[in-house]
Amino acid sequence: MNLEEISSTFKLIRSNPLSIAGIVIVATFVIVGLISPYIVPYPADAWGYSYNLETRLVPPSPKHIFGTDEMGRDLFSRVVLGARFSLIIAIGVVSIALAIGIVVGLVAGYMGGSVGMILMRITDMFLAFPPLLLAIAFAATLGRGLINVIISLALSWWPWYARLIYIQVNSVKNLLFVDAARIIGLSTTKIMFRHILPNSLTPVVIQAALDMGSAILEAAGLSFLGIGVPPPIPEWGLLISQGWALINTAWWISLFPGIAIVITVVGFNLLADTFQEIMDPRLRSTMVMRGI
């Protein structure tokens, strides 16, 4: 990307309010996620280890902007800290799924032949499951826990990346410069990583941005079903399910974590859209926007 392309990219982003919104939201999310333990007004509440009968079920008020839950914990602190866990989940799931998917897709695509076919058949078998269902199966087997949630989601997602990469590698494989590299005598792995991979990455990057948001949504879903993160972790989905029983009287407990989820996921979706506009507007139809 030379200077002219970079400046025209910035112009494109600046002119589109949705793009700006996406970048701002995601940036805010990441920053909050990183520093939240240090900025929450009630740290003990946030981590869930406090118990304060006097402030139980207080509606939103100046001292507690989002109100308090049934254990007297400040909800605002919990939601803000929840951003950190959502960040961990999003990054964890996407990076593991990417790692597995890229390796499988790259090998299958470049090797081709029977190795490729077997790998792709396995990938297809995983793809036959409705996405969250496989995660439910894994989560039910592994039990509750932050790590388990990340593993379950990552294991049900890597096939998408493997397939994306495989398709890209297949089409790039036959381009001339790859043959040229081979003639010069570069080793197979070098060819794969240095030459094929960078060209195949565009749809993957866009999909990864979308998936960061989707990871948060699906983890929230798993937590809501009771097979996600265990209490007292203030994960947004778990907070919503904890507020469910009291929804008629203490509606704020379920409301605010949900708003946090919507805003964050919207941010990632807008970001992914922006990437798409920049990198290749033609890829529109192959992108998958998940949800729950």
Partner: protein, 340 residues
Amino acid sequence: MPISREYIIKRTVSLVFVVLGVIVITFIITRVIPSRPELLWTGPHATIEQIERARRELHLDKPIYIQLWYYLTDLFMGNWGVSWRTKMPVLPSILGALPATIELVVVAFVIAIAAGVPIGMSAAIRRGTGVDGAVRVFSVVGASTPVFWLALLLQLVFCSWLGLLPAAKRVDEYLVLSTGFRPVTGFYLIDSLIQGNIPIFIDVVRRILLPATVLSLYPMCLSIRMTRALTLEVLNELHVRSSIAWGIPRTRVLYRYVLRNVLAPVIASLGLSFGYTIVGAFMVEIIFVWPGIGYYIAMSLLSYDYPAVIGCVIFVAILYSIINTAVDLVHATIDPRVKL
């Protein structure tokens, strides 16, 4: 456009392989990954004798391929295990709960397409205007909303606060008794109409309205996005301009020709969103106490009823594959360019 027999056979064969793959994967998840699979199967309150019996029934001392063989034959013979929560066999329970879920999902999809495609097309035609912007914002926000959260809130507003709609269940038992309603197909909407039972029909509609609408949000937003993008593409293609240039009125070109060009890929893509909608249905069922597979799976998850959970997973996965194949066949019927 008749589909050739070979195509149907080809897809069926591939479906069989896919189903086998699904079963193998669940086998790996349930038997190979856990260190002591029999514990999962018997639940947290099992006695030592029950655990030992489970070990024998699951043939865990035998080599893997023998286990797989028993696993396959058990599944094919309908022996999907017994839910120790309900003490009843898993497969019949799932089949019993199936119509409720299907009814909910179908209504949700109908709402999604009936609303999503027109909205998407109008946004595309009015590209760049305020309407277009509002639609795009709506579709992004809608697709980012957790369905269980929305269900909770809407239930709170419409059922508790406003009292407009009933909050739970498919149908009022009192009405069932007083009007002598007897479900035949399991699809209460159809059954009540067949039997001319209007009070039940109205009741079912009132109860299905909110859950189906909440469930339809995600596929609706996907439809809107896809329809909008596709319509923009199609409008740029030469055949649209040529039809107009030859004198066919613009509205007719849009609603007869462009619509079909757009509908084919949109329906195909709905197969993908179907997977998410099924899991979304689970959430909605829990909140609205809708007696479908989702409710069953959620209750099973809460009680760590592993056989029931895995049974549901297998069942839904197989169902999903069948539906995907069916969608492909429908797509091939609409679009004559698909290689048969």
